[in-house]
């Protein structure tokens, strides 16, 4: 089963390709006939090229010439996964026969993929082949160049999940390619941390960046505790974060400050609230904070959000649903701090009931959920 494979918008009148964000357009009879005429020779040459490639495979003819035919075919249609397979078979055979220089050829393939990336930024198979080439290159792979390339990709489309996927793999491979000291690893993670900072500074709604940040923070924190502090003091890229990563509390405060700004920029931005939920409820913070400090942090956030909601009420004449949802969450977290994990039914106070009633009114799409919570049929804290 395919998931939203997105393709370029060049082709119209096309029932098979999956379209995303392409305006509906209908050709009149004349244009339709003209297109059929225009397509005829294209279909012929495409199909003959295809049969040559399959024929060569059938006859085990793995030559430079047959390799070039797969290039031609893939430049027209990079979604044709079998052709990528034939290409890889051919490459391996030609390397084994020493007909082609392995490193040089694979580097050429990486260049070819750059051309395809621009035309088909969301084609799974292209990413797949790039990773195959890099794996084959082994120690010759230049993961730093890869990192630069994927940064470029993500600057063109900041939420492209293929791009983020590739980035995780690239970072991982860079980590493991040669044995790295904790210091070196820390430098890599800090660069990634800064990358997410720059992304959310450009666009606070970039949840892909917030997500990655939530994965990086625990790793970086661990290394700041392990790596020799003298080394960190001398490393310019690291010492500027010494204070932030000095404790879970300072880290929490640093991130909360960032997210509080975001809440004021756009109070209806889902990504900002989701990240705040992580900060306030993840074990990485909650299990290690002093109980009173944690309680105070929650109370401060409750107050900030209450004020924000008042501003919203002044502006729009009604409560803001994200403020109310978050106030419920914080009140439940506070109740648990006070009572060492309350019974779920104890959380449903009159105040929370009144919040849920307002939510059912102002956020009608999810009314069913609020009513379930109001009637004790769904958890308030999860």
């Amino acid at each position: 089963m395919y998931l939203c494979l997105e393709s370029n918008a060049k082709f119209q009148l096309y029932l098979h390709r999956m379209f995303h964000n392409v305006k509906r357009e209908k050709l009149n009879q004349e244009a339709r006939v003209a297109k059929i005429e225009k397509d005829k020779p294209k279909i012929e040459s495409y199909l003959s090229l295809q049969s040559l490639v399959f024929e060569a495979r059938q006859n085990h003819q793995y030559t430079v010439e047959s390799l070039n035919k797969t290039t031609d075919l893939l430049m027209i249609n990079p979604e044709f996964y079998t052709i990528w397979n034939i290409r890889r078979e051919t490459l391996l055979e030609l390397f084994a026969q020493k007909q082609l220089d392995k490193v040089k050829t694979l580097e050429d393939d990486l260049k070819m993929i750059m051309v395809l990336f621009r035309r088909f930024p969301k084609c799974y198979w292209i990413y797949n082949h790039r990773l195959w080439c890099l794996r084959c290159l082994g120690q010759s792979a230049n993961w730093q160049v890869e990192l630069a390339i994927v940064s470029k990709l993500l600057s063109v489309d900041q939420r492209n999940f293929h791009g983020w996927h590739l980035r995780r793999i690239v970072v991982h491979n860079y980590e493991v390619q040669t044995p790295k000291t904790p210091q070196e690893l820390l430098s890599i993670y800090i660069k990634e941390f800064e990358f997410t900072t720059s992304k959310v500074n450009q666009n606070i709604s970039n949840f892909s960046a917030w997500h990655n940040r939530s994965k990086l923070i625990p790793k970086i924190y661990k290394y700041y505790q392990e790596v020799d502090s003298e080394f960190i003091d001398q490393a310019e890229d690291l010492n500027k974060y010494t204070q932030v990563f000095s404790s879970r509390l300072s880290l929490l405060q640093h991130e909360i400050k960032l997210i509080n700004t975001g809440m004021y920029v756009d109070v209806d931005d889902t990504s900002v609230w989701l990240y705040l939920y992580w900060l306030l409820s993840d074990e990485f913070f909650t299990e290690h904070l002093d109980k009173q400090v944690y309680q105070r942090t929650l109370e401060e956030q409750l107050e900030i959000i209450r004020e924000l909601n008042e501003l919203e009420k002044d502006d729009n004449g009604k409560d803001n649903c994200w403020c109310l949802k978050t106030m419920i969450l914080i009140k439940c977290l506070l109740a648990n701090v006070h009572n060492n994990n309350s019974a779920p039914s104890d959380l449903l106070t009159d105040e929370i009931k009144s919040f849920l009633e307002i939510l059912a009114d102002i956020d009608p799409l999810r009314k069913g959920k609020y009513l379930d919570q109001l009637h004790g049929k769904a958890e308030l804290l999860y």
């Binding site: 009148l13 098979h16 279909i43 970039n206 992580w278 959920k369």
Partner: protein, 324 residues
């Protein structure tokens, strides 16, 4: 707006007609043909019009996609076996009650799928190493259709899926990857098949899924993205499996989906007035059926398998009785 039923039936029939074969793009899409056939079949199942397609030709086509070298199905004759097309092939055969036509290949198909499982429990799509929670679903659903799940496959696969959970209670394509609604279907569907739904944080995940409904009434796939009719299926199926369909506004969803149809020539697009395609046509109709199959006079669809109940009731449910 009402469902342009007859137009959609005609639309699916036209996908593979002589006119469409005259367009270059038809030939560029061979790599999706078996998947496309499944989408067409399911669109027609939803519309209660499967008899529109000639069964013998459909079965013959599916069998012609079998790739004896790998033991899986490719998307088109001569194409390599892949887990994506293998599931599509098996689904079509089951829907047509024709699994007996592969009796001589069952052992090879089962081996093909099981060999794709990696030591960490994940599945690759073929022998070239791409790993994705989609492929876990494809493999688990395929093995389930074949009645070939094992304790070993189930334990390892479910452990891998757990590692793909994020702090928001939702799931991504691999451990560390951002939550994505389509991956949630594959994870929750696979866990449901493997009788492992207790591994999901029900209310947290259902909340995340309910947040996917945006003011237009449709669902998006990730926070702060545009709605798209195909997510009607990817979001509503796990919500249905979790028993929280009522956490979204199904009437508003239905209106959004109907707004995506081309009333003139049939078919659905991702959003209103965009280009239609068979993929969105399938999952828009599936979404409508899940939302209210009686209201729209559609066939009821099993949210776990994305097939009609008449087909899925033939599947042996895990854990198998009398297993060791």
């Amino acid at each position: 707006m009402t469902l342009a039923r007859l137009k959609h039936i005609q639309y699916v029939k036209n996908v593979d007609d002589a006119t469409s074969r005259q367009s270059f793009e038809y030939w560029l899409s061979e790599h999706l043909r078996l998947n496309g056939m499944y989408w067409g079949v399911m669109a027609l199942v939803g519309l209660k019009s499967l008899d529109t397609l000639p069964k013998p030709q459909v079965i013959e086509y599916v069998l012609s996609c079998y790739d004896a070298k790998s033991g899986g199905f490719g998307a088109y004759p001569q194409h390599d076996g892949h887990i994506l097309s293998t599931l599509s092939g098996l689904q079509i055969l089951l829907i047509y009650d024709s699994l007996h036509t592969i009796d001589d290949k069952r052992a090879q198909i089962t081996k093909f799928i099981k060999d794709l499982q990696l030591p960490d429990g994940s599945f690759q799509g073929d022998s070239y190493g791409e790993v994705d929670t989609r492929f876990v679903y494809n493999a688990v659903s395929s093995l389930s259709i074949l009645g070939q799940l094992t304790e070993d496959v189930v334990e390892r696969a479910s452990q891998f899926l757990v590692r793909c959970e994020n702090f928001d209670g939702s799931y991504g394509m691999e451990p560390g990857a951002e939550s994505h609604a389509a991956q949630v279907f594959t994870v929750v569907g696979a866990l449901a098949i493997m009788d492992k739904l207790h591994l999901v944080k029900h209310d947290k995940l259902a909340t995340w899924l309910s947040e996917r409904q945006v003011k237009e009434g449709g669902f998006n796939g990730r926070p702060e993205k545009l709605p798209d009719s195909c997510y009607s299926w990817w979001v509503l199926s796990p919500l249905t499996i979790l028993g929280h369909q009522n956490w979204v506004d199904l009437a508003r969803l239905g209106d959004f989906i109907l707004g995506c149809q081309d009333e003139e020539i049939g078919g659905f697009s991702d959003r209103k007035d965009n280009q239609t395609d068979i993929y969105h046509t399938c999952f828009a109709i599936m979404g409508l059926s899940l939302a209210d199959h009686e209201l729209y006079d559609l066939e009821a669809i099993d949210p776990v398998y994305c097939m009609p109940y008449s087909a899925t009731q033939k599947i042996q449910k895990w854990p198998y009785a009398g297993r060791e």
